[in-house]
């Protein structure tokens, strides 16, 4: 088991570099540059623009930007005589902003040494920005999984048992309906119907009432979770019930279930003690990756329900070409995904005695 985990972690290293290289090059190859977005103001002078571009390092060749992001630039330009200005450099010029005197030495350490840089827009550490939004996203994800997984699995089991009957047909239709409506339309629909415009049953957005002192504990503001959770769950219910139905059908027709039946066990015992239990194994392995993929945030739902999650931050950063934030989220997202797959493999092994790692 340990051997397996270590091997998988070592395998993840090239994957990690692949991810960061692909992402960085896609981002930096985008036309336009962050400086012109940040300084679209007729009163900002050329000098100011150049200074900013040099400070952000966005005019360097892409491979250099990537290197700086990965391993920092304190070794690219440094100061030997202690006057605060650099006097030695490799790869980058001593005077990048063109003001006639050498620039201060590089200070970036690179992500491998834990330095994710600073957001172009917010000037903050990207990890801090993401960290501020993550709790809201996790809260919404857990709520979504708590609704969609049990509901989807129950529907899936029942649909498999009553295969071809009216319950199966209507469950199938309902699950598909929930999955067919564009999410933003669904979200607006929910707001217009359950929010103030019609029934005024539930708040239309936010995580809690806008009062000072922060949000109260979650059980005191459950009503704020209802609509975004419903909007996010619908697709999940459809997906889980479809998986579960298929997995259940597979076990129902398998030999050991037939044997159990032949031995005279009641239908109910066969279904729930044998089929469903075994059908749940593949489901368990989906949980990890699903949770991780939800962590990317549901931008649309967050936007419409004013939910303070990471999805909005990501979309904003993409529009503003805020490289450090985009890359930080790519790194976090992909590390979590790699871990998610690993955990699901381990779970699979734990649940399924046929597999020995």
């Amino acid at each position: 088991m340990n051997h397996f985990i270590i091997r998988r972690l070592i395998q993840a290293i090239p994957t990690f570099f692949g991810i960061t290289i692909i992402s960085y090059f896609i981002i930096a190859a985008a036309p336009g540059d962050p400086v012109s977005i940040l300084t679209f103001n007729p009163r900002t002078s050329m000098e100011e623009r150049q200074r900013l571009a040099a400070r952000l390092g966005v005019n360097d060749p892409i491979y250099l930007q990537y290197l700086r992001w990965l391993v920092g630039d304190d070794w690219m330009r440094w100061d030997t005589d202690g006057d605060g200005l650099s006097d030695r450099s490799i790869l980058i010029p001593l005077d990048a902003d063109g003001d006639g005197e050498p620039d201060p030495p590089g200070e970036r350490l690179g992500i491998l040494r834990g330095d994710f840089g600073r957001s172009f827009t917010y000037r903050e550490n990207p990890l801090k920005l993401i960290g501020e939004r993550l709790p809201a996203t996790i809260e919404l994800n857990i709520a979504t999984l708590l609704i969609s997984v049990p509901l989807g699995i129950t529907i899936g089991i029942l649909a498999a048992i009553w295969r071809g009957k009216s319950f199966d047909q209507s469950a199938r239709v309902l699950a598909v309906v929930g999955d067919s409506v564009p999410s933003f339309l669904m979200a607006f629909g929910l707001i217009m119907i359950f929010g103030a415009p019609t029934f005024n049953l539930l708040p239309m957005g936010g995580m809690c009432a806008p009062v000072r002192g922060g949000c109260p504990p979650i059980y005191q503001r459950l009503e704020y979770l209802v609509l975004p959770t419903i909007a996010l769950s619908l697709g999940g219910i459809a997906g889980w019930s479809r998986f579960m139905r298929a997995a259940m059908l597979e076990t129902i027709t398998s030999d050991y279930v037939r044997t159990a039946k032949a031995k005279g066990l009641s239908n109910r015992a066969v279904w729930f003690r044998h089929s469903a239990r075994n059908a749940l194994i593949p489901m368990a392995t989906f949980l990890g990756p699903t949770f991780v993929s939800l962590l990317g945030g549901a931008t649309i739902i967050e936007t419409i329900f004013s939910w303070p999650g990471v999805g909005r931050l990501l979309t904003q950063s993409v529009s503003a070409q805020d490289y450090p934030v985009i890359m930080a989220s790519v790194v976090i997202g992909s590390v979590l995904t790699i871990l998610g797959f690993l955990i699901s493999d381990i779970l699979y092994a734990v649940f399924d005695p046929r597999i020995r790692l």
Binding site: S45, R123, M204, R212
Partner: protein, 598 residues
């Protein structure tokens, strides 16, 4: 469902009627200090990037810091002009010397930060020094740039001195009627606090962009920031300039509501106090009886919407000046390089139809860069919609309909580009790229209407809405566009000077704002002259700016379209709300939300 909502609407109307019957309590002192309720305004933009006014570069940040820091001068919100002794403004009086280059500002002596420390000229000086250091990102640093290296080129301000705690002396590099406001681009910060936090190491501010101000001056204080949720401030009763002698609202909340439609619905539901009504919803508030009870205020905005028309060759953008500062001749744009074609375009589009059909009548046609509220506005300059005349102009410009088929584009027959640049251009079709930034319906609606109108008179128009950051800006500032839709929002007070937009010095591919590469000798002279009119005599300046407008009108580097008529709405129970065309929130410290009758 449908019938239920119908009943609900009916019920709502009855309830609203009921509230009308209840007598409205008279103005002014309807509540005590901090008893006016919680004022909530929605923010559809991103979070504020900073609470440090010296770093602020985005609207969200400005929306917050405006409550916390004073300015040197403040606009009189009734007149829209900078005046001394305005609430929140430090200046008591100011005067120029006889050369017009030295500005002496006397500060009010009765003002103090909310920790009791008097506000003095040292506070302004600290802000100026921080900006001039070049260590922090500040969009207005160029104004003060000369001070950093001592050379006179570039910036407008040669020096800022504080001979005594209540006097600021600004020396300009030259007499300049426009420079006055740039002194005010920097907000005043509490030097004693900033000195302690950062000292002379101004770059340290950049490491700490969201530090919460502990000492402030304004109607509200004590930021509480919940990322992506809200910024909330509480009333600061020590604010001396409040309209009622106290700050009426208890709190001011800046609520993050990223979606405009949801924001509007939440306003209608009473969750938001004040709403800048989205243009697509403006007419709902005028016509829908269910919304009739909200207080609304319509005003002429201080920005205009236009199509920039690139006058120079987009395949080979050149700066307006060479390295020695001499004007560099521009290769004309194959189509738009000819002023006749640009004029034809200004006559080809039915702007009334756009204003009626797309803007719901909420706009005023303009044909120059001045807006109707400006003191140099000339209402006589108007484009006329006349497709026959437009077609005649195209014929005259050498773009002719060679095959008599109106559905195919005109072709060049001895047009300007073929005559002056490349004879091989002869016979090329009259084609244009029309670009609008993606986002918002109005832009693409206008774009589509323009395309249809231009195709009507023989253009072949390629219209696309494109992403702002990755496509639109690179084309615009890179000067590779043909026609691009933009809106300028002008600051207050409205300044008629347009040196930043039409002179060769700012024609710099990739950065400058004369992206149309427009060049007119006479205009440049007039603009330079108007800045140094002796004593900045308004009449003399007005005459010059009127002439400048005529030139721009005739040369049409922009197709100026309209100024929006905007609307702000507030809850029916908000009292003491006296909006002006220049600000809808200037009197927030007097606002009071009355208890709604149950």
């Amino acid at each position: 469902m449908k019938s239920i909502s119908k009943w609900l609407v009916l019920g709502l109307c009855l309830a609203l009627l009921g509230t009308l019957v209840i007598p409205v309590i008279a103005q002014e002192d309807i509540s005590g200090p901090g008893e006016g309720g919680i004022i909530i305004t929605g923010n559809t933009a991103d979070d504020p990037a900073t609470f440090n006014p010296l770093l602020a570069n985005d609207t969200s940040s400005f929306d917050i810091v405006q409550w916390l820091y004073p300015a040197l001068f403040t606009v009189n919100w009734q007149t829209g002009e900078s005046e001394p002794n305005q609430p929140g403004g430090l200046a008591e009086s100011w005067s120029y010397d006889e050369t017009g280059t030295i500005l002496t500002i006397n500060l009010r002596q009765d003002l103090a930060w909310n920790d009791g420390t008097p506000i003095t000229s040292a506070d302004y000086l600290y802000a100026v020094n921080a900006v001039r250091s070049g260590q922090i990102d500040n969009s207005y640093a160029s104004t003060f740039e000369t001070m950093a290296d001592g050379s006179p080129a570039g910036g407008k301000v040669a020096s800022v001195e504080a001979p005594d705690p209540y006097t600021v002396v600004v020396t300009f590099t030259e007499a300049d009627c426009v420079a006055f406001e740039s002194v005010n681009d920097i907000q005043v910060v509490p030097a004693h606090v900033f000195q302690e936090l950062y000292g002379e190491d101004y770059a340290a501010m950049m490491e700490d962009p969201r530090s919460i101000p502990t000492v402030s001056f304004g109607a509200f204080k004590d930021i509480e920031f919940a990322p992506a949720q809200r910024v909330s401030l509480v009333a600061d009763q020590s604010y001396p300039d409040s309209l009622l002698g106290y700050v009426s609202p208890e709190e001011w909340v800046y609520l993050s509501v990223p979606d405009e439609n949801v924001e509007t619905e939440r306003f209608i539901a009473g969750e938001i106090t004040v709403l800048a009504v989205p243009s697509t919803r403006q007419n709902d508030f005028k016509t829908d009886p269910a919304l009739a009870d909200f207080k609304t205020y319509e005003f002429t905005g201080n920005g205009f919407t236009f199509f920039a028309m690139n006058t120079a060759d987009p395949s080979n953008p050149q700066p307006g000046l060479d390295e020695d500062g001499n004007a560099l001749p521009q290769i004309p744009h194959p189509v738009l390089g000819d002023v006749l074609v640009r004029r034809a375009i200004t006559q080809a589009v039915d702007m009334d139809a756009i204003l009626e059909g797309i803007r719901d009548g909420n706009g005023i046609k303009v044909a120059t860069h001045t807006i109707p509220t400006s003191w140099v506005y000339n209402p006589d300059l108007q484009y006329t919609f006349d497709t026959a005349a437009a077609q005649a102009l195209l014929d005259e410009a050498g773009w002719v309909d060679d095959d008599g088929d109106a559905s195919t584009p005109r072709v060049c027959q001895n047009c300007l580009y073929a005559r002056e640049v490349d004879p091989a251009f002869e016979g090329s079709p009259l084609s244009l790229k029309l670009r609008v930034p993606e986002g918002g319906v109005v832009g693409s609606q206008i774009g589509e209407f323009f395309k249809a109108s231009l195709d009507e008179i023989g253009f072949s128009t390629d219209f696309q809405a494109i992403d702002w950051g990755s496509a639109f800006l690179p084309e615009l500032t890179g000067q590779t566009f043909d026609m691009a839709l933009l809106s300028w929002s002008l600051g207050l007070p409205v300044e008629p000077d347009v040196t930043d937009f039409y002179t060769p010095a700012v024609d710099v591919p990739g950065a400058g704002f004369n992206f149309t590469s427009y060049y007119n000798e006479e205009l440049n002279q007039i603009l330079a002259e108007a800045r140094v009119v002796p004593g900045c005599d308004p009449e003399a300046r007005k005459a010059l700016y009127l002439r400048a407008q005529e030139i721009l009108f005739n040369d049409a580097p922009y197709y100026y379209m309209y100024v929006t008529e905007s609307m702000t709405a507030v809850q029916p129970n908000l009292e003491n709300w006296n909006p002006t065309p220049y600000s809808r929130i200037w009197d927030t410290d007097a606002w009071a939300l009355l208890d709604q009758p149950e």
